[in-house]
């Protein structure tokens, strides 16, 4: 594949060049006192980190409802964040025109809950770290796409430790053009290979109930989900608001009942809503104060459901969300 080698692995020069323009921004990671975090850089990069070994939220979350024109932005994010970004583009939640989305090979991350100061932010060290400690987030372990192969462009690291930039779209081309040097064929195998296929998610209601027993319906999972984009969630609407009178009627009519908490309803409906757009980043689980293994469910379901239509969320800008289209000649066995 044709790409550009990044000299000394130093992408910062390129980005700094880009940032010379006052109207330009770079969204990437910053190495700060309290570890690495997401930051918008203006004018120049400071304490820039290509990788972020800690996962707290999905960066695409912050891009929702970004419609402003004129400010050119380069996103330097994890593949899962770029994928969420792509889904949000499809959902018209971000104006794509001035944004170049660059995904960077990801070597996994530590959950913000397990955050330590000793975690390195360099590829090799990080790999070693996780080999040693086995503390990588579960979501990262089972990640479907940790390679920088999504978005407009990707930054990848080969087995020789060389950094490469690849372009996947026209916008990617313009990103590549910011990098010095000429495109060349990359011949060395990349450090990060494609993910292994995970077992199909299979569960039952008993386990579900057990896992979700702790849920308090705080809805943090929803709020932190990058693809749960609705301005006004149905669960805030009166359809799902408690109906005391009706409940009382029911009790008077048919005797005592367990008060409905709507947990199943909430999680199932949300699961369905994000089933085609979920990127499996695990932001929900990260946000859950009760430690419910949400990723297992949301990622598991979305992979199964996306698989039906050979769809993968955030893989490409052009694939349509499966529920919005159809083939006349498909799903012959759908009928019972």
């Amino acid at each position: 594949m044709l790409g550009k080698k990044i000299k000394n692995g130093n992408i910062e020069d390129t980005l700094n060049r880009f940032l010379k323009d006052d109207q330009h921004l770079v969204l990437g990671f910053e190495k700060g006192e309290n570890g690495v975090s997401l930051r918008a850089f203006k004018n120049y990069l400071d304490h820039y980190s290509l990788l972020n070994p800690i996962f707290s939220t999905n960066g695409a979350l912050h891009l929702r409802r970004l419609f402003s024109k004129g400010t050119k932005i380069i996103l330097m994010l994890r593949p899962c964040e770029i994928r969420a970004y792509i889904e949000l583009i499809k959902l018209n939640q971000i104006e794509r025109e001035d944004i170049i989305a660059v995904s960077i090979d990801c070597f996994g991350a530590l959950s913000s809950k397990d955050k330590t100061d000793d975690i390195p932010a360099e590829a090799d060290q990080l790999r070693e770290y996780f080999k040693k400690t086995d503390t990588m987030r579960w979501a990262c372990k089972v990640c479907r796409e940790r390679r920088g192969v999504v978005g407009d462009a990707g930054i990848r690291i080969d087995r020789d430790g060389l950094f490469w930039a690849f372009s996947y779209t026209e916008k990617g081309d313009s990103f590549l053009s910011l990098i010095e040097g000429e495109p060349e064929e990359s011949r060395t195998e990349m450090l990060m290979s494609g993910s292994e296929k995970q077992d199909q998610f299979q569960n039952d209601m008993k386990t579900f109930s057990k896992d979700f027993a702790k849920c308090t319906m705080c809805m943090n999972c929803r709020d932190m989900c990058p693809v749960c984009y609705c301005i006004d969630c149905v669960f805030n609407g009166d359809e799902y608001l408690p109906k005391g009178d009706a409940l009382l009627n029911k009790i008077l009519r048919s005797g005592p009942v367990q008060l409905p908490q709507g947990k199943e309803l909430f999680h199932f409906i949300r699961m369905y809503h994000v089933s085609q757009t979920c990127v499996g980043c695990g932001a929900c689980e990260e946000a859950c104060p009760q430690g419910i293994p949400l990723t297992k469910y949301f990622k598991g379901i979305s992979e199964r459901l996306q698989g039906m239509f050979s769809y993968m969320s955030g893989r490409s800008f052009d694939e349509s969300i499966p529920y919005l289209t159809f083939l006349e000649d498909e799903l012959k066995n759908a009928e019972d």
Partner: protein, 139 residues
């Protein structure tokens, strides 16, 4: 909530397209064909109106089964509606399958003339669910 239903007869909610299945059910009625009283229909203008959330809601409010029934593919009064239904409900079935409750959701194509087919579909569904339910309850 799912567990505290004591009675053995299943409750089945069916979403029926006005142009086909609902008509077929009317016809079944006027032909005095019988089907279990546990089967209750909700009329929708087109099967594509069925939001999978309805199905989920029905299941967690105590339905033992839910079916969505529309016109045969290609026959939709709204031209393409039922193709969307097919995708959504197939996906939802996959989701239910993931929770080992695939049998709770079914998708039927029943044209307005197919009263017999309607009866067969709902009766089979009812009986299968009833059987499974009772087996489950014995265990």
């Amino acid at each position: 909530m799912l567990q505290d239903k004591a009675e053995k007869n299943p409750e089945i909610i069916g979403f029926a397209c006005s142009y086909c299945t609902f008509k077929a059910s009317e016809m079944a009625g006027s032909l005095r064909m019988k089907y279990p009283e546990g089967v209750k229909l909700i009329q929708v203008p087109c099967s594509s109106r069925v939001d999978p959330a309805f199905v989920i809601k029905a299941i967690f409010e105590g339905a033992d089964g839910v079916f969505v029934a529309g016109c045969h593919p290609g026959d939709c009064h709204f031209i393409k509606g039922n193709y969307f239904t097919r995708r959504k409900i197939a996906a939802l079935k996959e989701m239910f399958d993931a929770f080992s409750m695939k049998d709770k959701l079914r998708l039927f194509w029943v044209s307005a003339a197919e009263a017999r087919r309607f009866i067969d579909k709902v009766t089979t569904m009812y009986n299968e669910i009833k059987e499974r339910k009772n087996v489950r309850e014995k265990n």
